[in-house]
Amino acid sequence: MSVPPMKRKPRSRTRIGLNLTAMIDVVFLLLVYFMVATDFTKGEEVYKLDLPARQGAIAPDPFDLDELPLIVMVRSTGSGPGDLVIELKGPYPDIPDPQALAQLLRERKISTANPHGLFKSDHPILIDPLPQARWDHVIEVFNAPVLAGYTNISFQSRQL
């Protein structure tokens, strides 16, 4: 007995479907991951100082101090990055910019490579900006002794 050939249904065209739902879920999960992992305060850094010392009614007697602090005065002459005047109290050469100040302090720092230097790395350095000095100029000058490796840097106290 012969078997009749199976009737073939007409083949419909092959359809390819792509389920996008799972892909959207994964994309959002990746987005959330990167949002959480990204540090939005990138670039914000700090100079760490101690709280300013309390000033008594009487200024400290210079003879009581172990070391006379090095005083760096700052004045702004304009708003540009180079528009500032730096003066170091004492027998020091003119300082044209903060980089020169860093270099001068580095050269005078006592270290194993420079045992005949003038100042130890914890020598007190006081930054004394004029009241009209711009904050960015003050920071540039503050950065110089930090860059040169000094650790005891603060601002000159002023009476309120």
């Binding site: 739902t21 959207i24 879920d25 959002f28 999960l29 987005l31 959330v32 949002m35 959480v36 939005f40 305060t41 990138k42 670039g43 914000e44 850094e45 700090v46 100079y47 760490k48 100082l49 101690d50 709280l51 300013p52 010392a53 309390r54 000033q55 700052v74 708003s79 990055p81 903060p98 980089q99 900006p129 004029l130 009241p131 009209q132 000095a133 711009r134 904050w135 960015d136 003050v138 920071i139 540039e140 503050f142 950065n143 930090v146 860059l147 601002f155 106290s157 002023r158 009476q159 309120l160």
Partner: protein
């Protein structure tokens, strides 16, 4: 042959998933923004010898910039005081109160690059004159800048 009208069905399940993901996304993003910081241009020193701030508890004091290098106010969280020596003393009293209540180890000072030093100096002097008796945790002062060479 009569054609049945085309039926369109929308499966809402994945749409609900996406909406919940969006909600989680916005909840997380809103927590990352730091509301303590006032918008200003922090100084950007060249070759900055700075450190990354630590993540421990800190108070952020903003010297809110005004026109021509002046300061409008000092702002710390919800406290806003005049940018004068009296205002600085008032804010210092609030800072002391906060330091007594919480184990804060750092005060972060944010000032615009154009601000004149006199406004920052008043704040530094007032903080220096703060009565530190009773404060058990040592507090440091962090001067905040932008280091474009970071990372």
């Amino acid at each position: 042959m009569r054609r049945r009208p085309t039926e369109i069905n929308a499966n809402l399940t994945p749409m609900i998933d996406v909406i919940f993901l969006l909600i989680v996304f916005f909840v997380l993003v809103s927590r990352i923004v730091d509301f303590d910081s006032v918008a200003m241009d922090l100084p950007r020193p060249a070759d900055a010898a700075t450190e990354r701030p630590e993540d421990d508890a800190r108070l952020v004091i903003n010297v809110v910039p005004g026109p021509d290098g002046s300061a409008r106010s000092y702002k710390m969280q919800a406290w806003v005081v005049d940018a004068t020596p009296e205002g600085a003393r008032e804010l210092t009293a609030v800072v002391r109160e906060q330091l007594m209540r919480q184990p804060i180890t750092a005060l972060s000072l944010r000032a615009d690059q154009a601000t004149r030093y006199r406004y920052v100096s008043s704040l530094l002097t007032a903080l220096g004159e703060m009565d530190r008796t009773g404060l058990t945790t040592p507090v440091r002062l962090n001067l905040m800048i932008i280091n474009e060479e970071a990372r």
